[in-house]
């Protein structure tokens, strides 16, 4: 990674009512960066699912806890080529997430729940969990296959 520029930073409460606000902002941001419509949907779905997991599992449904979301344009090597990408980092101060337990469920097991992590992994190129300084951190990366922002945005 050689370049990184902050595009947007959001501090929100762990209130489910805030999800649609983040979705709308992120959808606009992804489109402005030049992601295709299906890619925009994928990024929005991944972040929505990640925030839902934070609200439900890290904060156990408490709607008044802090979540920080930062969105950066980065440059990285992808399949041997230099590519621009959208890097999203979500941080919370909730209970520790054990990445080994974050495995979702088998899709052939037809029952409610357990799909969120599967959606995140299917939607993003990189999904990394970590715990730093008392915070859970989730890093998501979506590689941009068309270089440069969309004209007229």
């Amino acid at each position: 990674m050689s370049r990184s520029s902050l595009l947007l930073r959001i501090e929100l409460q762990s209130n489910p009512e805030m999800l649609c606000v983040v979705r709308n902002a992120l959808g606009q941001l992804a489109a402005t960066l030049g992601f295709s419509e299906p890619e925009c949907h994928a990024v929005v779905l991944a972040v929505d699912e990640a925030l839902t997991n934070i609200i439900r599992h890290a904060y156990l449904g408490d709607a008044e806890q802090p979540i920080e979301a930062s969105f950066r344009r980065i440059h990285l090597l992808h399949d041997g080529q230099g590519r621009d990408a959208l890097e999203i980092v979500l941080e919370d101060r909730g209970v520790t997430v054990n990445p080994k337990k974050m495995c979702g469920r088998k899709l052939e097991d037809v029952r409610p729940g357990g799909l969120g992590l599967h959606f995140i992994r299917e939607s993003m190129d990189t999904v990394e969990f970590s715990r730093r300084k008392g915070r859970n951190q989730l890093r998501l990366v979506k590689v941009l296959h068309v270089q440069g922002p969309r004209k007229g945005s």
Partner: protein
């Protein structure tokens, strides 16, 4: 999300609009479970034509509705899925377990 109910013979049709997410999916779940478990409606049809977005909590509500319908021997039908909603169901690999039609006429047919 808004839910409007219509009744046609022994069929309940829910017209859903807006986003189905963590904030709104409990409302959908409650409406579906009431129709199947309490009212024992033989067929519930969900019009998703005006739904802009659905996440995994929405899919989970649909799965719960489907299971409740099977428990009481009722039918649970979806129609009007736009590309975004269909993609979410396909991503969940659950699209084949639902009875899905293109329009309301097919959904309420005998």
């Amino acid at each position: 999300m808004q839910i409007a109910a219509r009744h046609l013979d022994k069929i309940t049709i829910f017209d859903i609009s807006g986003d189905i997410d963590l904030a709104t999916s409990p409302q959908l779940r409650k409406a579906l479970l009431r129709e199947f478990r309490e009212l024992k409606v033989p067929r519930v049809v969900l019009n998703l034509g005006a739904v802009r977005y659905m996440d995994s909590s929405g899919v989970a509500s649909l799965v719960e509705g489907l299971k409740a319908s099977r428990d009481v021997g009722s039918r649970f039908i979806l129609f009007g899925l736009n590309r975004t909603i269909r993609e979410v169901l396909q991503l969940s690999k659950l699209v084949k377990i639902f009875e899905i039609y293109d329009n309301e006429e097919q959904s309420v047919a005998p």
